[in-house]
């Protein structure tokens, strides 16, 4: 550990403490930002201190859930990951995690780095952390204003993957054609995972499907069935490229409404049946991604199963909260594909659901809110009770609901998030559930107001 890094650490820790103390929001990126500004080699130097190396988790949807699932497994396996836990998944977040988990001498409490990074930050993160394993879960259109075009993004990611140490392992979702294309002709060991049953497949694609064309030749892909957005069983009629065979595959699925999914997974050397305590197909993918990584890192299947079944949802992604005898189920939705899965989850069960839809357009949400028009709100017709639209762009959300013809009479516009939550709670009966679907910064604010009411713990304690 160089003296330079020690000074940087001392300062970073000071900032982390102060910003937590001032309740400025968990101190999750400021220390890292400062450390990286003072010493550009801070992260590369620190990760060398991790005896088990580093893992990078990326993909548009589900990286926090995947990384947290994997952390839950690795903790049980005694591999003690250092995880950038609070959704601050840019490089500053990685630096902050390293600061938080080390003493002033630079000795890390953890043994392995587990870092979730945005797709756009992935190449830089590969360079700085020299990972032994990377996993790409999916690529959807997400905040294009920040990321540029999807094809360009995928080719940049592929270039970055090519620079990995030859011993590194690459874990990819076989059902996403663009993600799967990253593994083609790669000299590294590639592990594919996917869903190998058409039980929840559909014949038509959602509006949010983004990758409809063959990454090799540009022709339109044909699908036997779609599972989630553009994921499914695809092949290219022109060049013959098709979904690669998966080594880790969900072969049986049974969704248990909003509770979770029972599934049977085949993996090299066996088969396991487990219960995923999170709803929706997208969480099946998150689990398959985490399982594939854990198995590749040498964790035994019993520990993997325990880690998944004992999982507590990453903060805000899916959060169940009780308030005055009413339940709040808050599910983060930050892009069309993720929102469609939330909607699919809401269409399960019986009775009309009361919802708060909260749309912000801060930088972390994406300034451009046009994506809500790619969400299939029409699926919710005749399924909703009262709807409260909230957030900075509450009126845009209300307009989307109006044009989906979901019942204008039961629609309220309340831009103030705290008031919207109050209003939402007032419209559900004792014992009933209010569904809250916010974008990222709206979720932070809503969670903040729940913390204030003492309903949930602040996230840096969780």
């Amino acid at each position: 550990m160089r003296t330079g890094n020690r000074l940087v650490l001392a300062l970073g820790k000071g900032i982390g403490f102060t910003s937590r103390f001032l309740k400025a929001g968990g101190g999750s990126t400021l220390p890292g930002r400062t450390a990286r500004r003072m010493s550009p080699s801070f992260v590369p130097n620190m990760v060398k201190e991790l005896p088990l190396g580093s893992v990078l988790v990326t993909g548009t949807n589900g990286k926090t859930t995947t990384a947290t699932l994997l952390a839950s497994i690795l903790d049980r396996a005694g591999m003690t990951p250092v995880h950038n836990r609070t959704g601050a998944n840019l490089l500053a977040g990685i630096a902050s995690a390293l600061i938080r988990e080390s003493d002033l001498g630079g000795h890390l409490a953890g043994r392995m780095g587990l870092f979730e990074v945005d797709e756009a930050a992935f190449p830089a993160a590969v360079e700085e952390t020299s990972p032994r394993l990377v996993v790409v879960n999916n690529l959807f259109r997400d905040q294009l204003d920040r990321y540029g075009e999807l094809d360009t993004l995928a080719s940049r990611m592929k270039e970055a993957v090519r620079t990995l140490d030859p011993q590194s392992v690459v874990v990819l979702n076989a059902d996403d054609p663009l993600v799967a294309s990253i593994g083609r002709d790669l000299p590294h060991e590639v592990i594919y995972y996917g869903i190998d049953t058409d039980r929840y497949g559909s014949e038509s694609m959602q509006h949010a499907a983004d990758s409809k064309h063959c990454a090799e030749c540009g022709s339109r892909l044909t699908y036997e069935y779609y599972l989630f957005g553009h994921m499914g069983r695809y092949s290219c009629p022109s060049c013959g490229t098709s979904r690669p065979g998966s080594q880790v595959s969900a072969v049986e699925l049974e969704m248990v409404e909003l509770e979770g999914t029972r599934c049977t997974v085949k993996y090299p050397g066996g088969e396991v049946t487990l219960f995923i305590p999170l709803p929706g197909l997208y969480n099946v993918y998150n689990v398959l991604a985490a399982m594939s990584c854990a198995l590749a890192l040498g964790v035994d299947i019993e520990t993997v199963k325990e880690g998944i079944e004992g999982f507590k949802a990453a903060f805000g992604r899916v959060e169940r909260v009780e308030a005055d005898g009413r339940n709040i189920l808050m599910i983060l939705a930050k892009n069309p594909a993720g929102f469609n899965e939330v909607i699919r989850t809401l269409t399960g069960g019986t009775g009309r659901k009361n919802v708060v839809l909260a749309l912000n357009d801060n930088i972390a949400d994406g300034r451009d809110v046009s994506w809500i028009w790619d969400v299939d709100f029409e699926m919710l017709r005749d399924r909703l009770g009262r709807v409260v639209c909230s957030g900075i762009r509450a009126a845009d959300m209300a307009l989307r609901v109006k044009y989906a013809e979901l019942g204008e009479d039961s629609l309220t516009v309340e831009p103030n998030l705290e008031k919207a939550l109050q209003e939402g709670l007032a419209m559900v009966e004792q014992g009933e559930t209010l569904f809250v679907v916010p974008t990222y910064t709206a979720m932070l604010t809503l969670r903040g107001s729940m913390v204030k009411k003492g309903l949930v713990a602040p996230y840096w304690e969780g």
């Binding site: 259109r141 094809d151 300034r367 044009y403």
Partner: protein, 245 residues
């Protein structure tokens, strides 16, 4: 009287919530009892004379844009131009807008020819113009403003054969230089504003519907709708645009 909308390349050109523009046109017709039909026009599909009252085309990624350009040159471009000259309405957004002009010149490689609806050409720019936009527009009718979101690196320059949709007061517009945004030629509108454009700018949606009805020989004024939510979203976008620039 039924109006028929030709949705150009819905699979290839639909990058920024373009579905919202189509949905707005459809609903605003339905709410007034005007029968409306949307027909997807994909690669290879021909355009019969007098068949369509309106065309819509959204934006796409580079590769899609090249495929679409080829098809426009081979099967549809001249027909679309003819229909617009004969009174059909059209809305072309981002990449669609560029291809409705004379040509698109990239940094490297061949020029992409357009279909010459707008007397406008586009050259590749180094800077990406991203953000909320407000433009003053005569077409905006009572509102006088158009709001939306732009995300483009192409710079479009207008000739004398078309008028700008508006003058930018917040944001970059056609080329980040001359303060113009979009283009109008007869019943055709081209613009860099998605976001989605029509839900928050109902007067533009109604302009297009009126033109389409006009093509069917109707010049009756459209029945008015309760646009309080639309105008609230317009106002919120206006306020937000000023604050985020």
């Amino acid at each position: 009287m039924r109006i028929k909308i030709g949705y150009l390349y819905p699979d290839l050109m639909n990058i920024y919530g373009d579905h919202g523009n189509i949905l707005t046109l459809v609903r605003r017709c339905e709410w007034r009892g005007i029968p409306v039909e949307v027909v997807a026009l994909n690669i290879g599909d021909p355009i019969a004379h007098g068949e369509y009252d309106m065309f819509f085309m959204g934006g796409g990624q580079d590769r899609e844009q090249v495929m679409v350009c080829r098809d426009l040159q081979e099967t549809k471009g001249d027909d679309i131009k003819r229909e617009i000259d004969e009174g059909a309405a059209a809305l072309a957004i981002c990449g669609g807008y560029q291809l409705f002009g004379k040509f698109y010149r990239p940094f490297e490689g061949d020029e992409l020819p357009g279909i010459n609806v707008f007397d406008a050409h586009t050259v590749a720019g180094k800077k990406r113009c991203i953000g909320n936009v407000v433009a003053k527009s005569a077409l905006g009718g009572k509102q006088g403003t158009v709001v939306g979101f732009e995300n483009h690196s192409g710079k479009t320059y207008l000739g004398d054969g078309c008028a700008p949709l508006g003058t930018v007061t917040v944001g970059y517009g056609n080329n980040a230089e001359d303060k113009t945004e979009g283009a109008i030629y007869r019943g055709a509108i081209g613009t860099y504003l998605h976001g989605s454009l029509l839900p928050k700018n109902p007067s533009i949606a109604d302009f297009l519907i009126e033109k389409a009805l006009g093509r069917r020989g109707s010049d009756l004024p459209l029945a008015s709708l309760d646009d309080s939510l639309e105008l609230a979203a317009h106002a919120a976008a206006l306020k937000r645009a000023v604050r985020t620039h």
